[in-house]
């Protein structure tokens, strides 16, 4: 069942790669779209089979593979990963849909996207540490190629930077995985057989720091984020959607699953640091976004800010804040996807991403009215305006984290305010104002360019007014995860409690 999510796209990738040369690009795109649509439907089917009352792994699959390495093909899905899988298949489909009809080297392009799709699904499904690492590394080369072949002007630089950072991240993660397994004397790399209880606190902290830094590069957290603006900006729109929507989630997912899941005892010791780190990341991301002159860069930095909230929520590790963290991962995925898609459309139609040159796109006849309207919606969703999914996720995070880390939470609230600031700057400069009469002869927007954004917008609003569909999947899993973490040194909580007396 779950294997289909991994192997169908990989086989599809192989199929697309060997298609005859004479098939035109738009046909290849259509084929890739159909195949990835099938994967998405299968994922929906799995969602229907998913039992939300069960906290543990479901729909498990097991095949012994390399016993001496401790590597086994063990898959499973729980409340933490089911939504990530869905996000992965949905955004892959959207990415293919939003790619140009005349993509160059279409067979390689679409087969790489499908490969990424299968690899990411594998990483989210893997219940074996080595297996996870295999899929994690599988992302590396395809993304490098996707950035550096189809990217913008500085694509080579951005591609290499992405490759190096992600490779270092992989090394750190592998080192920690190996360390964990050897030190605990575990017989295999299977997730459920590893128990870190026997290790000393110091060792656990060292290992956990390895995990945090390894995944922190991917998330990315502030000092390790410098690959992100380059990679996001230089990548073409569909690739940016995948990078921001899916790949970044691999980082936060890894942090929750392997950081919090494997080292619950010491998690609470590092939690205060993580919370401050996350809040600093959020503030840094938003402040830097305000200074940008390029709309894609702004959106890229907005991603840094939003990922900071997830870190704060994970650090707080209350039942509520974890639900919020998962919700924020999904929200951020779809909001970033719609923003990157729209920015991509604006760039292709207008020919620039400069804030100083864009103007008046809201104009109904000569501008890009629907695209601008959706950009306003996406911006508002990203800034946490109620009625849209961004608010739900952020509010759950704040509500869940405030009792544990009031100060970092308040900093995050300030960051959402600043998010509104730079999105208003962005919207004001691009959508409002008047068109330049010398330049404003933009081509019309095709339906194929509007549909992905419309789908995502509907999803953003639906999950915003009916948030049960966002949180119900992960509730029981996160409650169980939190139960494993011993009562945190919740100094602030006691302080607040004393205030009430």
């Amino acid at each position: 069942m779950l294997s289909v999510l991994i192997w169908f796209p990989i086989l599809a990738a192989a199929l697309v790669a060997i298609l005859p040369r004479k098939i035109p690009a738009n046909r290849v795109r259509l084929g890739a779209l159909t195949l990835s649509g099938l994967v998405f439907l299968w994922n929906i089917f799995l969602l229907l089979k998913f039992d939300i009352t069960q906290p543990g792994m479901q729909l498990q699959e097991y095949l012994p593979w390399n016993e001496t390495l401790g590597l086994s093909y063990k898959l499973g899905v729980d409340g933490l990963s089911i939504l990530m899988l869905l996000l992965n298949t949905l955004l892959s489909w959207i990415a293919i849909y939003s790619s140009s009809q005349q993509t160059e080297r279409p067979r390689l392009f679409y087969s790489l996207i499908l490969l990424v799709n299968g690899g990411t699904a594998g990483a989210f499904l893997a219940e074996n540490l080595l297996l996870f690492f295999l899929f994690y590394e599988l992302e590396l080369i395809p993304f490098y190629l996707l950035i550096s072949i189809w990217g913008g002007e500085k694509r080579a630089y951005a591609g290499i930077k992405f490759l190096l950072y992600t490779a270092v991240s992989g090394i750190l993660i592998l080192a920690t995985f190996l360390g964990t397994v050897w030190l605990t004397g575990s017989s295999s790399f299977n997730y459920d057989t590893i128990s870190t209880q026997t290790l000393s606190a110091t060792l656990q902290i060292i290992l956990l720091v390895g995990i945090i830094v390894g995944f922190g590069i991917k998330i990315p957290l502030v000092p390790f984020h410098t690959w992100l603006p380059d990679a996001y900006v230089e990548a073409s729109a569909p690739i940016a959607i995948l990078l921001g929507g899916v790949l970044a989630k691999l980082g936060t997912y890894g942090l929750l699953r392997f950081g919090m899941g494997l080292f619950p005892q010491v998690w609470s010791i590092l939690a205060p640091t993580l919370a401050i780190w996350g809040a600093a990341s959020a503030i840094y991301g938003t402040v830097t976004a305000i200074a940008q002159k390029d709309i894609k860069r702004m959106v890229a930095y907005s991603s840094v800010g939003h990922m900071g909230y997830i870190l704060v929520a994970s650090a707080a590790s209350t039942a509520l804040s974890l639900v919020g963290a998962v919700a924020q991962m999904v929200s951020h995925g779809i909001i970033l996807a719609i923003l990157f898609h729209l920015v991509g459309v604006v760039e292709t139609k207008v020919g620039t991403r400069e804030l100083d040159k864009l103007n008046g796109l809201m104009s109904p006849v000569r501008g890009l009215p629907l695209i601008s309207a959706l950009l306003v919606l996406g911006g508002m969703a990203s800034a946490g305006i109620p009625g849209m999914t961004g608010f739900i996720a952020e509010f759950i995070i704040f509500q869940g984290s405030f009792s544990v880390f009031p100060l970092p939470t308040l900093l995050c609230v300030v960051a959402t305010g600043l998010t509104a600031v730079y999105f208003v700057i962005l919207l004001n400069r691009t959508c409002f104002g008047r068109l330049d009469n010398d330049l404003a002869y933009y081509p019309r927007v095709l339906w194929s360019e509007k549909i992905p954004a419309i789908i995502l917008a509907v999803l953003i609003i639906f999950l915003g007014v009916q948030p049960t569909w966002l949180v119900r999947w992960s509730e029981s899993t996160t409650t169980t995860m939190v139960a494993a973490i011993p009562p945190v040194e919740k100094v602030e909580t006691r302080y607040i409690a004393s205030l009430h007396q």
Binding site: V365, R366, N437, Y441
Partner: protein, 440 residues
């Protein structure tokens, strides 16, 4: 495609004006608009598309001025009765006073078809109105109001306006107002208390009549030009402009008046015998008020008194079609949208084909036709400038250099209106844009 202007007939040295090219063209008998087949097609096609709603405008304006008059609840003022649709245009048909258009004197068949079916299908007039499937009469009223508000233009040549303040006018209006509200003590009481209130309304009605009578002439002129173009008898922009100039002189002396019909009786508020004429009392104020001035668009300028975006002096108003930014047509706060929407229904097929080949094709036709409209109004303004020159100064083929110099000074003074730096007038003027086809 820009045609180089013909050499001036006499040896006046080249102009040093920034629009020297345009001035040389005007001196050679041309228009402000370059003479290209593409321009000709656009302006004639737009005249045709403009004339059909105009045929409705003038009929309804006169209906409101003559019949609706001071109705305090004029809910149905845009529903013209049959009688006004069948009213004979004085310049078309067999019984015309001065036949300009060879076609029917009653409403244009395309207009009748639109009134009946609109963009949807045949249904009662009221439903067409409620679904906004109609002619945007508000635009005509906005033009009328621009003329009313920019009063005192072209005085003393224009005497219509000062007449509205004369005792004679007040006495005539008083009689009509009393007759209109006869048997209505409430309204009569209000009139007693606030006599100026209805008097000012009455002045507005006189301007309804003024504009209606102006457009009664322009509609057949534009229809005839379109027909002549179709017959191949107008082949260049100067020819089109000259047709307008000749039309202006032929019609210049037509009377401007305001008659009101109350219970079958005619009240002459401004009688024909006052001698107000079409050229001085309607055409020139109209061009000044609507082509040059109007009022700032609510969607482009801030009326904030501290921001000083809108001039203090009405003379400096520059929001007419010659200055208008057509790109935001279709947006909120841009009044010409109403007219563009009206013209959209009556485009000749050759213009529809032409627009489909450019920019966004059918999708932004509203703006493309708006820019063609701007071109065509530059042609009309050229005709007015040439007519004024003919009336006040010397012929173009005059051999006296002093006379030619006077002509040139006149042309330069006219074009200087598009060069003034105050309030960004220079940047707003579209004269430079329409010199090329890239502006569409």
């Amino acid at each position: 495609m820009v045609q180089t202007p013909e050499k001036p007939v006499t040896k006046l040295p080249p102009s040093t004006h920034e629009f020297a090219e345009v001035i040389h063209r005007l001196e050679a008998g041309g228009a402000m608009l370059p003479d290209t087949p593409e321009n000709l097609m656009q302006i004639i096609g737009i005249y045709k598309a403009y004339a059909v709603p105009m045929d409705f405008y003038w009929r309804d304006l006169l209906y409101i001025a003559e019949r609706v008059f001071l109705n305090p609840f004029a809910f149905f003022k845009y529903f013209i009765p049959k009688e006004y649709l069948e009213r004979h245009n004085h310049y078309a048909g067999d019984d015309a006073d001065l036949r300009i258009w060879r076609g029917e004197a009653t409403a244009h068949p395309e207009l009748l078809a639109f009134i009946e079916k609109g963009e949807t299908f045949k249904m009662p007039k009221l439903l067409h109105h409620l679904f906004h499937d109609r002619i945007n009469m508000e635009f005509a009223e906005a033009c009328m109001r621009a003329m009313l508000w920019h009063r005192h233009m072209y005085a003393p040549v224009n005497q219509f306006d000062s007449y509205l303040d004369s005792e004679e006018y007040k006495a005539n209006a008083d009689r009509a107002i009393k007759a209109y509200f006869q048997g209505n003590p409430l309204m009569l009481g209000i009139y007693k208390l606030f006599p100026d209130m209805f008097l000012e309304q009455c002045r507005q009605m006189s301007y309804y009549s003024n504009l209606g009578l102006f457009w009664e002439v322009m509609a057949p002129v534009f229809f005839e030009m379109s027909d002549l173009y179709d017959e191949g008898k107008i082949t260049s922009v100067p020819e089109a402009m000259n047709f307008l100039v000749n039309g202006i002189f032929a019609i210049a002396g037509r009377p401007i008046y305001h008659h009101v019909y109350i219970r079958g009786e005619c009240y002459e508020i401004i009688s024909k015998s006052k001698g107000f004429t079409w050229l001085y009392e309607a055409a020139l104020p109209y061009v000044e008020a609507v082509f040059y001035r109007t009022a700032p668009f609510r969607g482009t300028k801030s009326y904030n008194a501290q921001a000083k975006q809108v001039p203090d002096d009405q003379k400096d108003f520059h929001y007419g079609i010659l200055y208008a930014d057509v790109f935001p047509v279709g947006t909120a706060g841009i009044p010409p949208t109403l007219l563009m929407q009206d013209m959209l229904h009556f485009l000749p097929p050759y213009l529809v084909d032409y627009y489909q080949q450019h920019c966004r094709g059918k999708e932004d036709m509203l703006i493309q036709l708006g820019i063609s409209f701007q071109r065509s109004m530059y042609c009309v303004t050229s005709a007015v400038i040439q007519a004024l020159r003919t009336a006040l100064l010397y012929p173009l083929d005059d051999t006296n250099p002093k006379h030619l110099q006077a002509n040139r000074a006149f042309f330069e003074a006219q074009l200087n209106r598009f060069c003034r730096p105050e309030y960004g007038m220079r940047d707003a003027a579209r004269l430079r844009d329409i010199q090329t086809q890239d502006y569409r």
